[in-house]
């Protein structure tokens, strides 16, 4: 029985529970004519019953589905190992991989070894049993809860209040998801990064200048493992982000100024959304644009000036990333500029300042904290941007500040290390999490500062 069918059954049960609760409420007061003797509307009794019925059933369902595969795998591997000499961890994970593929149907059963085939058959059998028992347990829990509420229904049961309290808790749970996400991010990344730092020392990661993780294939090869000095990645990330900001900040700022202070409202209405189109274009499109158009173009220009530009130069990636960030900077700057009160502009105009003098010396000056906050947010965006650099930047960890050469970035390395088959205990895989932790912390820091600065700025003029 597939999980989606069980889910449908639970929904059906909840609908049934609604009817049961409603009917019961009407019955306890003695018919439709007497419903005004109930504390709440009959529908509230139905809703209360339905919610109490659905909550335990859904809880069982989610927990079961989340852990089912793990438990089954554990059971099957226990059988696999039975009667044989202990299987080395590496071989075990290979066998498990095969097992999963056979079960998923992406690998024909004939192509794997006998024990794996048996285990796969066992897995499928267990899964079928699990499906039925899930239906049994989840629906059973729901029915029990239904009966319990039904027994409680009396004319003086404050069904509406109880139901609304449940709703409020459900809403609270919704907003807790956001916090749980952060907790999940921190836990998963910190845990894996911790395992990485137990293999590779801090000092090598933060101060080493040699990055070649590809050599480390298995945990037992640490002696000959690759190097994990992340400094070149940090340098590369900074270089590309710097190029991007050099493009995005002046262009974004000047377009915001022009649109906010000079452009006629008609022009503004047309141009602003047009510029914002740039923000809506998916980043893969920018990546493709960088690879097929900007990269070769820069190369040709470089050649004509006698410069060698690498095919995957930091300049091309940074340039395109900058274009992507222009609308981000300009719409933030626009917000900040329009937040400057008109009275300050009037003050400058009344002294005989020209428009540009007013903008440069008064408006921008006043909006500076907000604009700096916006730029910090843009920097955090540039650092965390992935697809453009994965497609347009290099893989080799060059330590250079020359934008014409190829560099690699933190995000590129995370993707490279994690795409494809991976094992969770090799330092190569874990290194991606260490990089992810760095990325998370740095962007978090930038965001916290930026959001704080921007909020303070907004409060000032509210």
């Amino acid at each position: 029985m597939s999980p989606s069918i069980v889910l449908l059954l639970i929904v059906a049960l909840a609908v049934l529970a609604f009817q049961v609760g409603k009917a019961r409420a009407i019955a306890v007061v003695g018919g439709h004519r007497e419903v005004r003797n109930l504390h709440s509307l009959p529908g509230h009794y139905g809703l209360l019953t339905a919610m109490w019925c659905a909550i335990p059933a859904l809880f069982v369902f989610v927990a079961w589905v989340a852990f089912q595969d793990n438990v089954l795998t554990r059971l099957v591997t226990a059988q696999l190992a039975e009667g044989q000499q202990p299987i080395p961890a590496a071989q075990m994970s290979l066998m498990l991989n095969d097992l999963r593929n056979v079960v998923a149907g992406s690998l024909p059963a004939s192509s794997v070894t006998e024990p794996v085939r048996l285990a796969a058959a066992e897995f499928v059998r267990l899964k079928r049993i699990a499906g039925f028992s899930l239906a049994g347990v989840a629906l059973g829990a729901g029915i029990l809860a239904l009966l319990w509420v039904r027994a409680r229904i009396r004319p003086d049961l404050r069904a509406r209040n109880e139901y609304e309290r449940l709703v409020e808790w459900a809403l609270f749970a919704c907003s807790a998801v956001a916090v749980l996400t952060t907790v999940g991010i921190v836990l998963s990344i910190v845990f894996e990064a911790g395992r990485f730092f137990s293999i590779v020392p801090f000092t090598e990661f933060f101060f080493g200048t040699n990055w070649s993780p590809q050599m480390a294939i298995r945990a037992d090869q640490i002696g000959s493992s690759g190097a994990f000095g992340a400094v070149p990645l940090f340098v590369g990330t900074l270089l590309i982000s710097l190029v991007a900001m050099v493009v995005a900040v002046p262009l974004g700022l000047f377009s915001a100024i022009y649109l906010a202070e000079y452009a006629a409202p008609k022009l503004r209405r047309v141009v602003k959304p047009l510029l914002e189109v740039l923000a809506g274009v998916p980043t893969v499109v920018y990546g493709f644009f960088a690879v097929t158009t900007i990269g070769p173009m820069l190369r040709t220009i470089g050649e004509s000036m006698g410069l060698t530009v690498a095919g995957e130069s930091a300049l091309a990636a940074g340039l395109v990333m900058g274009i992507m960030i222009i609308p981000f900077v300009s719409s933030l700057a626009d917000d900040m500029i329009t937040a400057v009160p008109q009275s300050l502009r009037d003050g400058a105009y009344a002294l005989g300042a020209t428009r540009s003098e007013t903008i440069r010396q008064v408006v921008l000056r006043a909006a500076l904290p907000g604009i700096v906050g916006g730029i910090l947010l843009a920097v955090s965006r540039a650092i965390g941007e992935t697809m453009i650099v994965v497609m347009a930047a290099g893989l080799a960890a060059n330590m250079t500040f020359n934008p014409l050469e190829a560099v690699t970035t933190v995000t590129v390395q995370i993707v490279t290390l994690l795409v494809g088959d991976q094992e969770f205990d090799s330092p190569k895989t874990l290194a991606a999490f260490a990089l992810g932790l760095m990325l998370f912390l740095v962007t978090l820091l930038l965001n916290v500062i930026a959001l704080y600065v921007v909020r303070k700025y907004r409060e000032q003029y509210e």
Binding site: R345, D346, A350, L351, G352, Q361, V362, R365
Partner: protein, 273 residues
């Protein structure tokens, strides 16, 4: 400067009282202002004399602030505003194509309803005008201008030890005097004041009023106010506006003791306002 003769006030205007003065700084003839479809100022004719304080009074929305903003073309900054008629500064139309708005505003300073010091230091606030207009050749001259302006605005003693503090750190009354100092730092002929005391407490208001009285010797001052007592205290001439019309102009004493127009009398006696 080619002195073009300002035409005399045409016959049949509705304004009661003496609208012209000898050798005026400003001469306004048939000024109209539209905000989009709204006719905010209707055929206003008035002169503003040298070394006098002209008070403009009237109920809210009567157009007195709008008229004030015409005098240094601050209405240019409002998209929908359209100003017609002649406004002559020293006999020259301020809307003349050869006339420059930057130059005009250097001659006609303005102080606003709410103190609006720039988010800069006290010193930089006063130095801003001289800086943009290039009035000081070096730091010493700039210091001198700042010093003189702050003294004339009666603020020097209070701020001389903290010229580098932000202008926004001052109290409301001090901020407004800072704005006055900022305006007189560029040696204007005229200072426009748009309800300069409406955001201030009585003590700060009294100081500003004293200051206006002192400044009258050197500048023509045009002040919009909601307070009739203030108008009576600081001004020599008073103009009463009502729904975009200039109803009556005359010596302040006369307006307050013996108004000619019914509307003026109703306003002054507090029948509406």
């Amino acid at each position: 400067m080619s002195d073009k003769a300002v035409p005399p006030v045409r016959e049949g205007i509705r304004t009661i009282g003496q609208v012209t003065v000898p050798e005026p700084v400003f001469a306004c003839r048939d000024v109209n202002v539209h905000y989009g479809d709204k006719h905010a100022i209707k055929d206003v004719n008035i002169d503003i004399g040298r070394a006098e304080v002209l008070a403009m009074i009237g109920p809210s929305g009567c157009g007195k602030s709008t008229f004030l903003r015409c005098l240094n073309r601050m209405n240019d900054t409002i998209e929908s505003a359209r100003v017609t008629g002649l406004i002559a500064l020293d006999g020259q139309d301020i809307h003349d194509k050869r006339r420059d708005v930057v130059q005009l505003r250097a001659r006609v300073g303005m102080v606003f309803q709410k103190p609006n010091p720039f988010p800069k230091s006290i010193y930089e606030n006063v130095a801003y005008g001289p800086r943009i207009h290039g009035l000081a050749a070096d730091r010493g001259e700039l210091d001198e201008i700042v010093n003189v302006s702050l003294r004339r605005a009666g603020l020097w003693e209070e701020v001389k030890d903290r010229l580098n503090n932000p202008g926004t750190s001052l109290s409301g009354g001090q901020q407004q005097r800072l704005c006055i100092a900022r305006a007189i730092a560029v040696n204007p002929d005229v200072i426009l004041m748009d309800e300069p005391c409406s955001a201030l407490d009585p003590i700060a208001t009294a100081r500003i009023e004293d200051l206006i009285d002192e400044l009258r010797e050197s500048y023509a001052i045009c002040i919009v106010t909601h307070s009739m007592q203030q108008a009576a205290r600081v001004s020599q001439r008073t103009a009463y506006f009502h729904l975009g019309d200039l109803i009556e102009v005359g010596e302040t004493k006369k307006i307050f003791t013996n108004p000619q127009a019914k509307l003026t009398e109703d306003y002054i006696t507090g029948r509406f306002g």
